[in-house]
Every structure is written in structure tokens, then in C-alpha cells.
Amino acid sequence: MGAVVGTLTMQTRQRPSRARDKVDDELEMTMVSHRPEGLEQLEAQTNFTKQELQVLYRGFKNECPSGVVNEETFKHIYAQFFPHGDASTYAHYLFNAFDTGNNGSIKFEDFVMGLSTLLRGTVRDKLEWTFHLYDINRDGFINREEMTEIVRAIYDMMGKYTYPALKGDVAKQHVDTFFEKMDKNKDGVVTLEEFVIACQEDENMMRSMQLFENVM
């Protein structure tokens, strides 16, 4: 009788440890933290100095201790800057633009590369980056639908309480103006070359692009 009870209890003792292993495995998978390449390598690949990289990494790691940003966290962070409206759509497009590897998460390297282009890159680089931001399906062309999506996302960030009040067709007007300016051969899509040329012709835009140089 005691032997039976003993064997029964031994059986039960093994089972929880097996379950615990499984749980540990799961935990390990989520806790994998990504470490970026060394400081020198990043310095070589981007246009930032060591100090700037340090400051960037500290901020990055503070918000994402695991070393990678997933889309949810990204949206949450970006939304903090735009409390009036809904920044999630635009953040989604931004996330896709930063996530060059298309693996659903941004590592520090991706982040820093993107920032390097935006802040320290040439005008052509910036314009190319912006083109890739707008080109949602990565087919090399910006068509009306994609542009409308982007413009609508920007308007979403304004929120509801604006002056003058947001009317229904305001995004469409914006898209029309954009295509007027950019689509030189009127074929309904904007290619990279058209985009770059049209932007370089626009004085205001060039000046605005230089605006954010001293951000770091």
C-alpha cells in the first residue's frame, strides 16, 4: 500500500518539473535581449559621433530594455508626443519605414541608421527616405491611394478639435495639390525621380528639410 502511494507521488513530482521547463523555455524566448554591435562599428556606419550614439542608445534602452522595439511599443511612444489625436496610423507607416529588414521589430541599428539618414544624410538621402515612407507597398511608385492614406494618417494626428474644423474632403484636397506638384507626366503615379526633382524645385520644402538638422 505504501509502495503504491510512493510510486504515485513520485509520478506527480516529475510532472511539475517538466511543466516548469516548458515555462522556462517560453520565458527565455521572450527575454532574449538584443545587443547592438559595438560603438565603433555603428559610428562608422552612421554619421553620428560616439557621444550622440551614447545618448541615443541610453534613451532607446530606457524605453525598450529588451533591445528591440515592436510595433505596439513604437506606437505607444509616438502617441505620447501627439496627445490631441490618434498617431497610431502614422506611427505604423513610420515603423515600416524604419524596419528595413521587415521582421516586425526595430533593433537599435535600424533605428540609428534611419535617424542618421534623416538628420545627417544628404538631401537626396532624405528625399529617398521620405519616398520610401510614402510608398507603402514598396512597388517604386506612389499612387493616389497610398498618398491619401498617408495624408489621412497625418490628419488623424490632429485630433478632432481643430480650427478650422476638419471637413471631409480636406485630405483629398491635399492629395490633389501634392499630385499637381509632383506628378510631372500626369500618369497618376509619382516615381522617385519625379519626387526628388519636384521637391528640389520647391524652396519652402528645401528650407524645411534643413530645419531639423540641429535636433541632436
Binding site: 557621444q51 545618448v55 541615443l56 541610453r58 534613451g59 532607446f60 530606457n62 524605453e63 511612444i77 509616438y78 505620447q80 508626443f81 501627439f82 496627445p83 490631441h84 513610420l94 519605414a97 535617424l115 534623416l118 538628420l119 532624405k126 521620405t130 510614402y134 498617408i150 489621412r152 497625418i154 490628419y155 488623424d156 494626428m157 490632429m158 485630433g159 478632432k160 478639435y161 481643430t162 480650427y163 478650422p164 474644423a165 476638419l166 471637413k167 471631409g168 474632403d169 480636406v170 485630405a171 483629398k172 484636397q173 491635399h174 495639390t177 501634392f178 519626387f195 521637391c199 519652402n204 520644402m205 528650407r207 524645411s208 528639410m209 530645419l211 531639423f212 540641429n214 535636433v215 541632436m216
Partner: protein, 637 residues
């Protein structure tokens, strides 16, 4: 803006490059970082323990002591560090707040010391994070209760100028306040005891007449007992009437438990007086006497313990109710089983199921009177199962009541917690306000024309002057929001202004700009505004179908606002609103900003911006190019 994401502001600003090709207007000048120093470590010396952190970490919360220039008062020139003569242990959690954005309350810390530290460093306790907030609130409540108890003990000083009625009530409630009250207290207690003893002794058989059976004392000494009873009831009646007179709220007093007990205690006597000595009603009269035993409950005014017991039973009424229910179920089950088991045997006492109830109860409570016993084997088996399960079931209420005695202390606090729910709502509101502070801060700085100077054509001196009032982080954030405004050619406004502005655009859809005409519009009001409303609704109707889902949302938002107008109204209210906006138009140069200042700003706004400076009307501001929107507006913003 939360602290942690302050480090991501450069990223957000860089991402704004994505808006540039879409924007049709020039962007405002970025705030320059005049003293662009490298991020440096600063040393905080708190009573000898040195803490080090980056300067930027502290700058995240500019409205606290460490984040503002207030800390310069504590700067020690010789040692180049900031010295605070405060508790270093509490400082740890305060500094962690800057680092992580979450404020934690350490359990070992005394609550009032912690509160003082928070007040010193300018941090509001409401932002304690949820993991520690419960603990903090509990300790705080305990503390205030203890202080209140101490206060109550000192409340024996009689406040002056109490009316006779208030004095009486106070004497009744707190007998130890005056000797008269004490005397009264003891006298009533004595008479309650006398009354109860009388009732008891009344039924004792005393002395027997030689040829009659024992008669109870009540019938032997009828007059004496009647006099005693009368005396007691007189005293009780007088006491009740005095209490009724003295009660601050008579209705509430009459509903209270104690007064009901009083009434029930004295009522049988009066009913007995009134009733005649009929045979048929005397039976009822006798049962009324039973209610005299309720006089014993009057002792609960005199005994604190009795009150706690009553309160406990009341508080665990639900548990006891459930217990009773499950017991009833068990009784019914076993009674049925026993009845059918014993049905076969002859001369069985188990004549019916209700008759078996008695057996079941007696067995389950392990009383075992033995007046009903099962005779069949099946009956005996089930009977033993019944008694075994009874032991288990009866043992249940004991821990319930015991735990309720300990729970009674927390029961008070549950009522407080319900009160604290309202405080919780207030807390959430405060947090929302401080979080929304970032959005309202931007609107606020707009009103004060701080952003005016950031126009590309603005002057730089004003820019320098105004920069001092906002931190660099905030000004960069505001610049970002300003860029968004420029990109979309719409501005952020307050909710109220949105409603007003909406109506204003409704009126302004007519191409008339002169103030006189618009005031005329205001007066003639309704027909014009109704027409314009129809205009807008027609416009929306055509557009809802031509766009995809998201745009429909935008226009749906818009239609919602549009529909709100007809809901609110009668002609008179429409007239009222149009008059208001009419008067807005009549103000100098049609500036909307002046109207904004007249609305009182919410108190939680960033105190740094100067709320009292009205923006100067700036007729020199370049008129903004229209981008095809219907509204032509002259404004300084």
C-alpha cells in the same frame, strides 16, 4: 509628456521630415539650443549620500524642485554639488521617479515623512504608480483615522453656545461628559435591569396556597408587579420622549434601531392598558408580553461589546444566510432519505418528511435527544452519514464569525474605500489633467502668443525673451506640434473653442467680412444660420459617399457636430449662440484670440507660461495663403 519618451523627442522631430512634402506652408523656425552643452552628470548630495544622475534626467519634470531652477538655491559653489538636508532613504524613491517615470512608495517608510518629502520636492502623491498606490492610500487612511481618534478624545471640551437641545443630545450620546448625564445613564440602566428581572421573576412559582397548585409570583402579587412595570415603563417613556426631543434629526432618530427597540419595549404595556379583559384577546395580550423581553436589548446602549456583536452579525449576514441555505438543503435531503428509509418499519416516529426535519436537525447538530431513532438498517446507515456530515457542516460558521470579528475592523474601511472611490476618480482626474497638461500646455502657450515669435518672419529678440519661460524640451515639443499644424493648415484648439469656431465658420460661409454685417447677421440670425447649416449638411452628404472608410470617419465626426446644432434648439438658443459669435466678430479686427483670453484658463495648466499677458493684436502678421479652404479669417495665430 512622459519622462521616458523625452529621450525619443529627437526621433519624433526627425520623423517630421515625412510631413514636409505634404505641407504647403513654410515651417516655423526650430527653437535653438542656445547653451548646447554636452549632457553632464550632476551630483546630488543628500545628507552626505551622493547621488549622481544626468542633468537631462532631472529636466524631464520641469514642474518639480529638481527639474526646475529651484534647485539652484541648493547649489554649493565650493563642492560644485547640490546639497539637500533631507532623508537619503526617501530620496532614493524620488530619484527613481525621475529615472523610470514611476513613483513607488516603500513600505517601511512612515507615511507622513514620505508625504513631507514629496511636498518638499514638489511631487504630487497622486502619481504614485498603481503597484504602490493601494498601500499608500491604506496607510494614509489609517493615519488620518488615528489622528481623528486622538482628536475625538480631546473633544470633551464643550464648545460654547450649545442650545439646550444640543446639550441634551450630547449628554445622551456621551454619558461621561457631565455628571447629570452619568446619573441618567446609570438610572436607566438600573431600571432596565429591574424590568428584566421583574419579567423573569413574574413567572417563578412562589409559594403555594394549600389547596391550589403552584401559582407564579406574578399572579400572586399582581399589584406589586403592576406597579413595578408601570414605574419602569414611565421611566422608559420619559427617556424616549426626551431623546426624541433632543435628536438633531427626528426622522432619522425614529428610524434608528435603538429607538425601534425602545418603542417595542414599551408598547405592550400601553396596549395592555387599552385592551379590555376579553377572553379571546387575552391570548394575544399574553403574547404581547413576550415583547417585553426586548427591554434587554436596551442594554446595548450601555455596552459597547453588545453593539459590536450586533454589528458583526449584521455584517456577516450574507455568509450566515448562505450557510442557512446550505443547511436547509442538507436537512431536506437527509429528512427525505430518512423518511423513506423508515417508511417500512412499524411504529416509526418518522411520520412525514417535516417530522423527520426534527430528527435531522437534532442529529446534525450532534444533540441526539433520542426521542426519534431509526430502527431499520438503512435508516441507521443514513442516520450515521447524517451525523457525520452534520459535524462538518456545523463547523463551518465558526470560522466565518471569527473572521468577521477581525473583518469588522476593515468593514469600516470598506465604507471609506467606497468614499475613496470618489477620491480615486478625483485622483484619475488629476492625473489626466497633469498628463493632458502637455496638450493644454501647447494650447496655452499658443494663446499667449509664444509661438508667434517662431514664425519664420518673426523677430528673434522676442524669441529669446519668451524662451526662458518654457524648458527646451517643451519648446521643441511645441515646435513639433506647430509643424504639424502648418502641414495640415489646421490648428489645435480647445474643445469649447471648437464648438464656437464651428458656429463661426457656419456664419462665415457667406462671403461677408465686415463686422457690421456680421452683427446684422447675428440679429437676423436664424434664417441665415439655418440656411448655412443646410448648406454644410448638403456638402457633407455628397462627400460621405465618395470616400472610403477613414474619410467617412472624418466626415462622420463632422456630421455629428453638425447634427448637434439642430438638437439644441429652439430659435431662442440659436439666436443666443449666433449673438455670441456675432459679438465675437464685432471685437477689434475680428481677432479670435481676444475672446480666448476672456475664458478662464483651467487651473492645472503649466504655471510657467504667463497666463495674464494678453497677446498683442498683430496686424502686421502676414496674411496666410489660402489653400482652397472656404474660410477666410484674419487672425494673428
Amino acid at each position: 509628456m512622459a519622462a521616458g519618451v523625452a529621450a525619443w523627442l529627437p526621433f519624433a522631430r526627425a520623423a517630421a521630415i515625412g510631413w514636409m512634402p505634404v505641407a504647403n506652408l513654410p515651417m516655423p523656425v526650430a527653437p535653438t539650443n542656445k547653451n548646447k552643452r554636452q549632457d553632464e552628470l550632476i551630483i546630488l548630495n543628500v545628507s552626505g549620500r551622493r547621488f549622481q544622475t544626468w542633468r537631462n534626467t532631472l529636466d524631464r519634470y520641469p514642474d518639480t524642485l529638481l527639474g526646475s531652477s529651484e534647485k539652484e538655491f541648493f547649489f554649493n559653489e565650493e563642492t560644485r554639488e547640490y546639497f539637500f538636508d533631507r532623508d537619503p532613504d526617501s530620496f532614493r524613491s524620488i530619484l527613481n521617479f525621475y529615472r523610470t517615470g514611476k513613483l513607488h512608495y516603500p513600505r517601511y517608510e512612515c507615511i507622513s515623512a514620505y508625504d513631507e518629502e514629496l511636498a518638499f520636492f514638489g511631487i504630487i502623491p497622486e502619481i504614485i504608480s498603481d503597484c504602490c498606490y493601494e498601500e499608500y492610500k491604506d496607510r494614509k487612511r489609517e493615519n488620518t483615522e488615528r489622528l481623528m481618534d486622538d482628536l475625538e478624545d480631546n473633544k470633551d471640551n464643550k464648545p460654547p453656545n450649545m442650545t439646550c437641545r444640543e446639550t441634551m443630545w450630547r449628554a445622551f450620546e456621551n454619558p461621561h461628559t457631565s455628571t447629570m448625564a452619568l446619573v441618567f445613564y446609570y438610572v436607566t440602566g438600573f431600571f432596565i435591569a429591574i424590568s428584566v428581572i421583574t419579567n423573569v421573576v413574574e413567572t417563578v412559582p412562589c409559594g403555594s396556597m394549600p389547596n391550589q397548585r403552584d401559582i407564579p409570583c406574578g399572579e400572586r402579587y399582581t399589584e406589586a408587579f403592576f406597579c413595578m412595570d408601570t414605574a419602569c415603563v414611565m421611566i422608559f417613556t420619559v427617556e424616549y420622549l426626551m431623546r426624541l426631543f433632543a435628536a438633531p434629526s427626528r426622522y432619522r432618530f425614529m428610524r434608528s434601531v435603538m429607538s425601534i427597540i425602545d418603542v417595542v419595549a414599551i408598547l405592550p404595556y400601553y396596549i395592555g392598558l387599552v385592551m379590555t379583559n376579553n377572553e379571546d384577546v387575552s391570548g394575544a395580550f399574553v403574547t404581547l408580553r413576550v415583547f417585553r423581553v426586548f427591554r434587554i436589548f436596551k442594554f446595548s446602549r450601555h455596552s459597547q461589546g453588545l453593539r459590536i456583536l450586533g454589528y458583526t452579525l449584521k455584517s456577516c449576514a450574507s455568509e450566515l444566510g448562505f450557510l442557512l441555505f446550505s443547511l436547509t438543503m442538507a436537512i431536506i435531503i437527509f429528512a427525505t432519505v430518512m423518511f423513506y428509509a423508515e417508511k417500512g418499519s412499524s411504529s416509526s416516529k418518522f411520520t412525514s418528511i417535516p417530522a423527520s426535519f426534527w430528527y435531522t436537525i437534532v442529529t446534525m447538530t450532534t444533540l441526539g435527544y433520542g426521542d426519534m431513532v431509526p430502527k431499520t438498517i438503512a435508516g441507521k446507515i443514513f442516520g450515521s452519514i447524517c451525523s457525520l456530515s452534520g459535524v462538518l457542516v456545523i463547523a463551518l460558521p465558526v470560522p466565518v464569525i471569527v473572521s468577521n470579528f477581525s473583518r469588522i475592523y476593515h468593514q469600516n474601511q470598506r465604507a471609506d474605500k467606497r468614499r475613496a472611490q470618489k477620491v480615486q476618480k478625483a485622483r484619475l482626474a488629476r492625473m489626466r489633467i497633469s498628463k493632458a497638461g502637455s496638450s493644454t500646455a501647447f494650447l496655452h502657450s499658443k494663446r499667449n502668443g509664444l509661438n508667434q515669435s517662431l514664425e519664420l518672419t518673426g523677430s528673434l529678440e522676442e524669441d529669446q525673451q519668451l524662451k526662458k519661460t518654457t524648458s527646451l524640451l517643451e519648446s521643441q515639443h511645441h515646435h513639433l506640434l506647430h509643424c504639424l499644424e502648418k502641414t495640415t493648415n489646421h490648428e489645435f484648439v480647445d474643445e469649447r473653442l471648437y464648438e464656437q469656431g464651428y458656429l463661426q465658420t457656419a456664419l462665415q460661409n457667406f462671403p461677408s467680412q465686415s463686422p457690421s454685417l456680421s452683427s446684422e447677421e447675428g440679429v437676423t440670425g436664424t434664417c441665415c444660420s439655418r440656411r448655412t447649416k443646410k448648406n454644410i449638411q448638403a456638402l457633407n452628404a455628397t462627400h460621405t459617399h465618395s470616400h472610403t472608410h477613414n474619410l467617412q470617419e472624418l466626415s462622420a465626426l463632422h456630421i455629428h457636430c453638425g447634427e448637434q446644432q439642430p438638437l439644441n434648439t429652439s430659435r431662442s438658443s440659436l439666436n443666443l449662440m449666433s449673438d455670441e459669435s456675432g459679438s465675437l466678430n464685432c471685437k477689434s479686427s475680428g481677432l479670435v484670440t481676444t475672446a480666448i483670453i476672456s475664458i478662464p484658463t483651467p487651473p492645472s495648466n503649466n504655471s510657467r507660461a504667463n497666463p495674464d499677458a494678453p497677446p498683442p493684436p498683430n496686424p502686421d502678421a502676414p496674411p496666410r495663403p489660402n489653400t482652397g479652404s472656404d474660410v477666410v479669417k484674419i487672425s494673428a495665430l
